[in-house]
Symmetry: none
Subunit: 202 residues, 4 copies
DNA sequence: TATGAATGAGTCTTCATTCAT
DNA sequence: CATGAATGAAGACTCATTCAT
């Protein structure tokens, strides 16, 4: 197994995942056949099956890719010292992403939520991402409360869940409406966040 | 078709939809076969097909039923005069429902979001429900702004979308986590709403 | 489920098994496709699958049918009192059957031996038939020994196994050669049996 | 192709056949894939296909190897002068082999019988071996009859077939039962052979 | 109208075989 | 000669839908 093969192998896998990604978000996971993926990837069925054991495995892999992409968004927020800044920064990062990204990942995400209710691997991946995001938000809120910046009467975990909801909910609405006013949405959320902050409101 | 048959006809339809509802939320829409529905409804395949032309149509019908159920929740909120009360009342109604309801409708909802991306009928139904909810919230917020109770710098539509997100997002998280702390969640949202209210905070 | 359905159901099952029987002995079990069986049975694939869950199950059923046919051959031998007569009678019955039967059941049998090495259900059926036959022969030999008609120095079970071998071996040779001299074969076996009998040989 | 390559060529072929042999008797002929054979032989698919044109050809070759092994067993029996001794010697050789050999060749043999019904090459090989064995036995019996040692009323060919049946039948029973009492079996056969011998029985 | 047996297009998956490197 | 990635025909099986009774 020379190193060329390893690179080649990875490239092919990526090629297949990418094709599957396209198909899944276009037609939905269930409506996508293995032939669809092959056609999209310009590969034969046999080739695809030599990289993945089953359609299920491809779906699981896709879920994990989405997970990875989502987690990368959060990195780098921790270095900020002020709670308000951190929360606002996170809002900008999360929602900003939604404007750049096409319908593609929005449809993919919604499809995965549904798939998670059926497929264990997918559920694991989706659960993982939610937990991680929850942890990050929870930590920020807790720190803010310790420093007296954030209202101590709210549960940090609950705040985290609401934050996540505002993001996932916007994803859903973008999926259904096709187009959404992200800027207005973010402005509103920032205003609402002030309800949690102890700082003097100018 | 005499009226007696009409009653019978409606009863049968309800019976089928109810069976489909159960199956869909248990196994997912795609994993449910027409035979599953027949078994659950204690009817023959032929019978089911004399009430619905296709599985698609049953799915669409289910989406509309869910729509109806959701819309009923809102009625009666308009009679309240105070914006804060209205919003808080809505929060209680919406989220309170989530505690009573089992996983059932949660799974159904998530499944429908995904189905809406594929199936036009379902999309129409889901879109309709979102629009209606948005309208109600928008109206309340706009009224509040007119009366000076709510911060005029936010877009009423955006506030509505955030409200909807907090609900849909919780549905999603309940679907994924299995169990969620609804009370803490509602408390947090109420606190955040204050960020939008101009009233003196006691 | 009216009784007509039960009769219809059984008839269809028999129809399918019969078709499978034909195909299996013509082309071999592995070379026979479900489509072959359907074509032979003049039924659609869906129809066949509503009577049998899988190809494996059809194979197992075939094995059991063969088992039943084989067991019926033995019934009625026990009423004879003399050991020599019993053994000779059994030889006539067993081998006589081979002349009547076409290549069909011979090929089927050989195929099942091989299938038994792979498929558990088939193995169970083939094992069962062998055990039953062994028991019958063993009982006869043991009774003969008790009455002093048969040489006591041989193990009854071993005699039974040899008997069975002479039958299965002839099945095999008929399968391979196509045609065999059954009469000469039976004569030889009868002569050899005398080697086990204590009676005075005229 | 220089001779060194010839040696190399033969070694590779043997290596492949040996691997196939192992696989076939472990999983059955049909359940064995070309990849299984390659893995077992530690060779690439391409390599295997440069020595054999197809899987069929490997199967045929295996059948011929089995043939060769079986024929070697008989050589050397002819030098004995007494018919009884010859037959007894053959019995010892044939059945003794069964005790040494593992399930391996037993499963292989049974598989080949079944394959012979389908595959012409295999059929030719199996037929050939049976004919040769029959010839040897027939010759011995005929010689015995000429010398007055064996009952002249039996057909030599039929005796030969019975002999072969006792061996093949035991192979089958070992395959199905897993374990058999070879010694008791051989004892019984020797006793039965006396039914064919004219010699005074001590 | 009700039934459920029958249909068959469509799905996932396997595996013998080829061929560019 | 060797390699093993790629091919794609073929197989088992599912399930929405039809239709004779």
């Amino acid at each position: 197994m020379p190193k060329i093969n390893k690179a080649h192998y990875d490239a092919r896998k990526k090629q297949i995942i990418s094709a599957a990604d396209t198909c899944f978000s276009n037609k939905g996971i269930h409506q996508t056949t293995m032939h669809d993926i092959c056609r999209q990837a310009q590969l034969s069925i046999g080739a695809v099956y030599s990289y993945f054991d089953s359609k299920e495995q491809i779906i699981a892999q896709i879920a994990q890719e989405a997970l990875k992409r989502n987690l990368e968004m959060i990195s780098g927020v921790d270095k900020l010292t002020n709670s308000r800044e951190k929360l606002f920064e996170l809002a900008d990062v999360f929602f900003g992403m939604l404007e750049e990204t096409g319908d593609h990942s929005v449809r993919m995400d919604i499809g995965l939520w549904s798939a998670a209710l059926i497929n264990d691997e997918v559920h694991k991946a989706v659960l993982e991402i939610m937990k991680r995001h929850t942890e990050v938000f929870t930590k920020i809120v807790r720190a803010g409360q310790d420093k007296g910046e954030i209202d101590k009467s709210v549960k940090p975990e609950s705040v985290a869940m609401v934050m996540i909801s505002t993001f996932k909910g916007l994803v859903l609405q973008k999926g259904i409406y096709g187009k959404v006013d992200v800027q207005g949405y973010v402005d509103t959320i920032k205003k609402m966040m002030k309800g949690l902050l102890n700082e003097p409101q100018v």
